[in-house]
């Protein structure tokens, strides 16, 4: 009998895909009951969705700083629920919220977070074992989790979501806890990249150091337009200031899993691959014949992107129009 608590998230007024992944992971770990905590305004139908997806209990915070997304109170609320229900394991996601909230929750529960889990299993002694990337994705570590409770954060898009069952029943309950905000959000500033969002795009065109400068990204946008995709970048291109950091794909940037990922002038460092290696088809264009990306790509062109790309785009126009 293993009790699970999931620190859920809401995205665009819907239960986040990462939370559905956490529910699937709890099922992999043979949870006998699953509780989910979510915070936000008007979340009754989202709480119901969590039940359909597999939750037995949903704890809601539907007003106050936690509902606004303040991390301090998300930790306070989740801690209160954890103390009450005494879960055997706690799951969250390595999202922008989870990176902050999950470690703090683990420390407060007297243990430490096992972060960025890509896969989970039970070993022969029924211990939870997690596999996670380390050394910038160069080395995968498998660890046995000894914490009581075990607190885990999951790498987004690493667990397959199960179908919902609209006949499932569960309980919904508002959390009562003491608010204490010490770090407060004053305002948010959006720096939208153009067009389709990187994480939702079916096609991603990404550029790296090999592009040589910011101008080249306009060619990548042209290609993205033809294929209906979004443009991403390696950390090197972002750090050089060629594109905003919101473009970054990689271990510390975004994780994308498009059907088609075209990497142009990207060497394929593990740090970058950690963010795109689950793409269905990976294509590399790079003039460095020894680049690591050619070991990871399904299709590769070894050549100068300035010569390859115009002909590639022209041919695409012929095929698609």
């Amino acid at each position: 009998m293993a009790k699970a608590l999931i620190v859920g998230e809401i995205h665009n007024q819907e239960l986040a895909a990462t939370t559905l992944e956490s529910i699937a992971a709890a099922q992999i770990l043979e949870a006998s009951s699953i509780a989910v905590i979510i915070a936000g305004y008007d979340i009754e139908s989202i709480a119901e969705h969590a039940i359909f997806a597999g939750a037995d209990h949903v704890y809601t915070v539907s007003e106050g700083p936690a509902a606004d997304g303040e991390f301090d109170d998300l930790v306070n609320a989740a801690y209160k629920v954890a103390i009450e229900i005494k879960p055997d394991f706690v799951l969250g996601s390595k999202t922008i919220t989870g990176r902050d909230v999950m470690p703090r929750l683990a420390f407060r529960l007297g243990t430490i977070l096992v972060t960025d889990c890509m896969s989970l299993e039970r070993d022969d002694a029924r211990r939870i074992c997690a596999t996670r990337p380390t050394y910038g994705g160069n080395v995968n570590a498998k660890v046995a989790c000894l914490g009581e409770p075990t607190v885990l954060s999951l790498r987004p898009k690493s667990f397959e979501v199960n179908d919902s069952d609209r006949s499932r029943k569960g309980e919904i309950q508002e959390v009562v806890f003491d608010s204490n905000i010490r770090t407060r959000v004053i305002k948010k500033i959006e720096e939208q990249s153009e067009g389709i969002s990187l994480q939702d795009a079916k096609t991603v065109i990404a550029g790296g150091r090999g592009l040589g400068g910011p101008e080249a990204f306009s060619k990548l946008h042209d290609l993205a337009l033809v294929l209906g995709g979004a443009v991403g970048a390696s950390r090197a291109a972002c750090d050089a200031g060629w594109v905003p950091s919101s473009y970054q794909v990689g271990l510390t940037g975004k994780t994308v899993t498009p059907d088609l990922y075209i990497a142009i002038g990207i060497s394929g460092a593990s740090q970058h691959m950690a963010g795109c290696s689950n793409s269905k088809t990976l294509v590399a264009i790079n003039k460095d014949e020894g680049a690591n990306i050619f070991k990871e790509a399904r299709f590769g062109v070894k050549g100068d992107w300035e010569k390859v790309l115009p002909a590639f785009i022209e041919q695409l126009h012929e095929l698609i129009d």
């Binding site: 380390t134 660890v143 720096e191 919101s246």
Partner: protein
């Protein structure tokens, strides 16, 4: 009042080391060839953030704090060469670089209490070896100080700390007050290079060394939450097909045709 900033810095394997040089031996990651260690890149950015604050407020002191079993002095002194004032090394065979940082967090937090007058702790968002992103957050929880993570800019005005936090599609401005722990990300910008005067100055500074006895941590039992079972290099299963045309443009055309054939586009 002097603003006292502690920057935590970790000595790590150079992340630019080629993947092929990583060798796994006995649940440890070794580097095959002669690659020297570096300061964790994000921690260099933490030093840079502290130096920028010092330049802005004027009256500030920067103490660099590092924890490990042993140090390459020329490497760990780099923050001093960049402009930091003091270096404290928490050095003890017990502070080995294991995947579970519980003891290291405790040691760093105790050291910060021992220093006494610390207003701000600035750390890199994560270390490029275990990529845990736990130590600074653990310090904040252990000291019961407010926390702001993944900063690209930090401003200090009296006891008010204003931080720009990186978000997936932009950033947000958060406010907290000292004493606090802040973690910084690469979006902060490149750390400065040490100049000659800095390098010469760093040579003259002797680090203070504290071991587990000094920190009253000797023989302390710690609950470890992660036991390392195995380390593996990720396996790659993909069969790469290199598209070759008569020239580079022809390769581009053939790539498009091949992708259509495979119904990828």
């Amino acid at each position: 009042m002097t603003l006292h900033i502690v920057v935590t810095a970790k000595q790590v394997v150079d992340p630019e080391t080629p993947a092929s040089a990583f060798v796994i031996e006995d649940k440890k990651v070794a580097i095959s060839a002669n690659f020297s260690p570096v300061i964790n890149g994000y921690d260099e950015q933490a030093v840079e953030a502290a130096l920028r604050i010092k330049e802005a407020v004027g009256d500030a002191r920067i103490t660099v704090l590092s924890c490990g079993p042993s140090f390459a002095l020329d490497v760990i002194k780099k923050p001093l060469a960049m402009g930091a004032d003091d270096l404290i090394l928490l050095q003890d065979p017990n502070f080995e670089n294991s995947i579970d940082p519980t003891l290291v967090i405790k040691a760093l937090a105790i050291a910060i209490k021992k220093i006494g007058d610390v207003d701000l702790v600035i750390s890199g968002r994560q270390a490029s070896d275990w990529d845990n992103a736990l130590v600074p957050i653990g310090i904040a929880e252990f000291l019961d100080w407010p926390l702001a993570t993944i900063a690209r800019k930090i401003d200090v005005e009296g006891t008010k700390v204003t931080v720009e936090r990186v978000l997936p599609d932009g950033y947000e401005i958060v406010e907290t007050s000292t004493p606090a722990v802040i973690t910084v990300s690469n979006e902060l910008g490149n750390p400065r290079y040490p100049n000659m005067r800095g390098i010469m100055g760093a040579r003259r500074i002797q680090p203070t060394i504290w071991d587990t006895n000094e920190l009253e941590l000797a023989g302390e039992a710690v609950d470890i939450a992660m036991e390392l079972v195995s380390l593996e290099k990720p396996t790659k299963l993909v069969q790469t097909e290199i598209i070759e045309g008569e020239d580079e443009a022809d390769s581009g055309r053939k790539l498009a045709l091949r992708l259509r054939e495979e119904r990828v586009i």
